[in-house]
């Protein structure tokens, strides 16, 4: 492997690592359960994407064979991440976990929990 490829691989790994670190930081910094839900779903998409691309490039240049299993990991992540987010949000609503006071339209939680249409549906 020449220097340029090693540089690209390192940059991709650093980018992925930083994004996942930021996602984890979000878990500490963000104020309530609903906002915290945003942090991990994000880290899995771009952060994991960068690391998996680095892994694919590494096998391509190191062993000379194209490895496609990483693409599958990406696919499975993209299918499972939204589901996890949805189920966690649903659970939070049913457990009546407290949202921070300045949340806009917090009354929508009440109708969303029962899967009803919003009351102001006429407008």
């Amino acid at each position: 492997m020449n220097f340029a490829i090693e540089l690209i691989l390192s940059l991709l790994l650093l980018l992925g690592g930083s994004l996942i670190l930021i996602g984890s930081l979000g878990l500490i910094r963000l104020p309530d359960v609903y906002t915290r839900l945003h942090a991990p779903t994000k880290a899995t998409t771009l952060g994991m994407g960068a690391i998996l691309i680095a892994s694919m490039l590494f096998t391509l240049f190191d062993q000379g064979s194209l490895s496609v299993q990483q693409l599958l990991i990406t696919l499975f992540l993209f299918i499972s991440a939204p589901l996890t987010g949805h189920l966690l949000a649903k659970t939070a609503m049913h457990q009546r976990l407290k949202q921070i006071d300045k949340t806009k339209n917090a009354d929508l939680i009440e109708v969303a929990r029962d899967r009803k249409a919003p009351n102001h549906s006429s407008d």
């Binding site: 945003h38 779903t41 599958l72 339209n105």
Partner: protein, 165 residues
């Protein structure tokens, strides 16, 4: 024809299963292809009673374009959320919106909800029973109507064209 239908009820699903099997094994040897073919035929036959009729993709090329747009948006929006997390979190204005759905059908709605969750900053929380409203939580919500309009023209309108529903 009916012979093919009864032994290969879902040709597209079979093809996907075969490809996924080969990708998972990272090998294209004859043995793996044979084993993959057996699984690709067997699994759809076994799960056929569990399947529900889903809407078909009518515009495959538009779907590819949609995936490209989505990939790009994920990259851009990831960086935006990273900035929000690192910035002053007290300044965030989180909020819920009720998004009026124009789409019909479970598959298109699921795809839209997943898209919304994958693009950072928004998360689909629930869909109303009548399938006309999608409840979305946004990490930073300065303007509700702007978010609704953006989802509508960037994701829902293309999905509507793809499925023609």
């Amino acid at each position: 024809m009916s012979f093919v239908r009864s032994w290969l009820p879902r040709p597209f699903l079979s093809l996907v299963l075969l490809i996924v099997w080969l990708l998972m094994n990272n090998a294209f040897s004859l043995g793996q292809i044979l084993l993959g073919l057996i699984l690709a035929m067997g699994i759809p036959l076994l799960t056929e009673p569990l399947q529900t009729q889903q809407m078909a993709v009518k515009r495959p090329l538009k779907l590819i374009k949609y995936i490209m747009v989505l990939m790009w948006d994920i990259v851009v929006a990831n960086l935006a959320v990273a900035k929000l997390i690192l910035g002053p979190t007290k300044a965030l204005q989180p909020g819920f919106i009720a998004y009026p759905l124009n789409l019909t059908g479970d598959l298109p709605i699921t795809l839209l909800a997943s898209t919304i969750s994958l693009t950072p900053g928004t998360l689909s929380a629930e869909v109303s029973k009548d399938k006309e409203w999608l409840y979305i939580h946004a990490l930073d919500l300065p303007n509700e109507q702007a978010l609704i309009d953006e989802i509508k023209q960037r994701y829902e309108t293309p999905l509507k064209e793809i499925f023609q529903c």
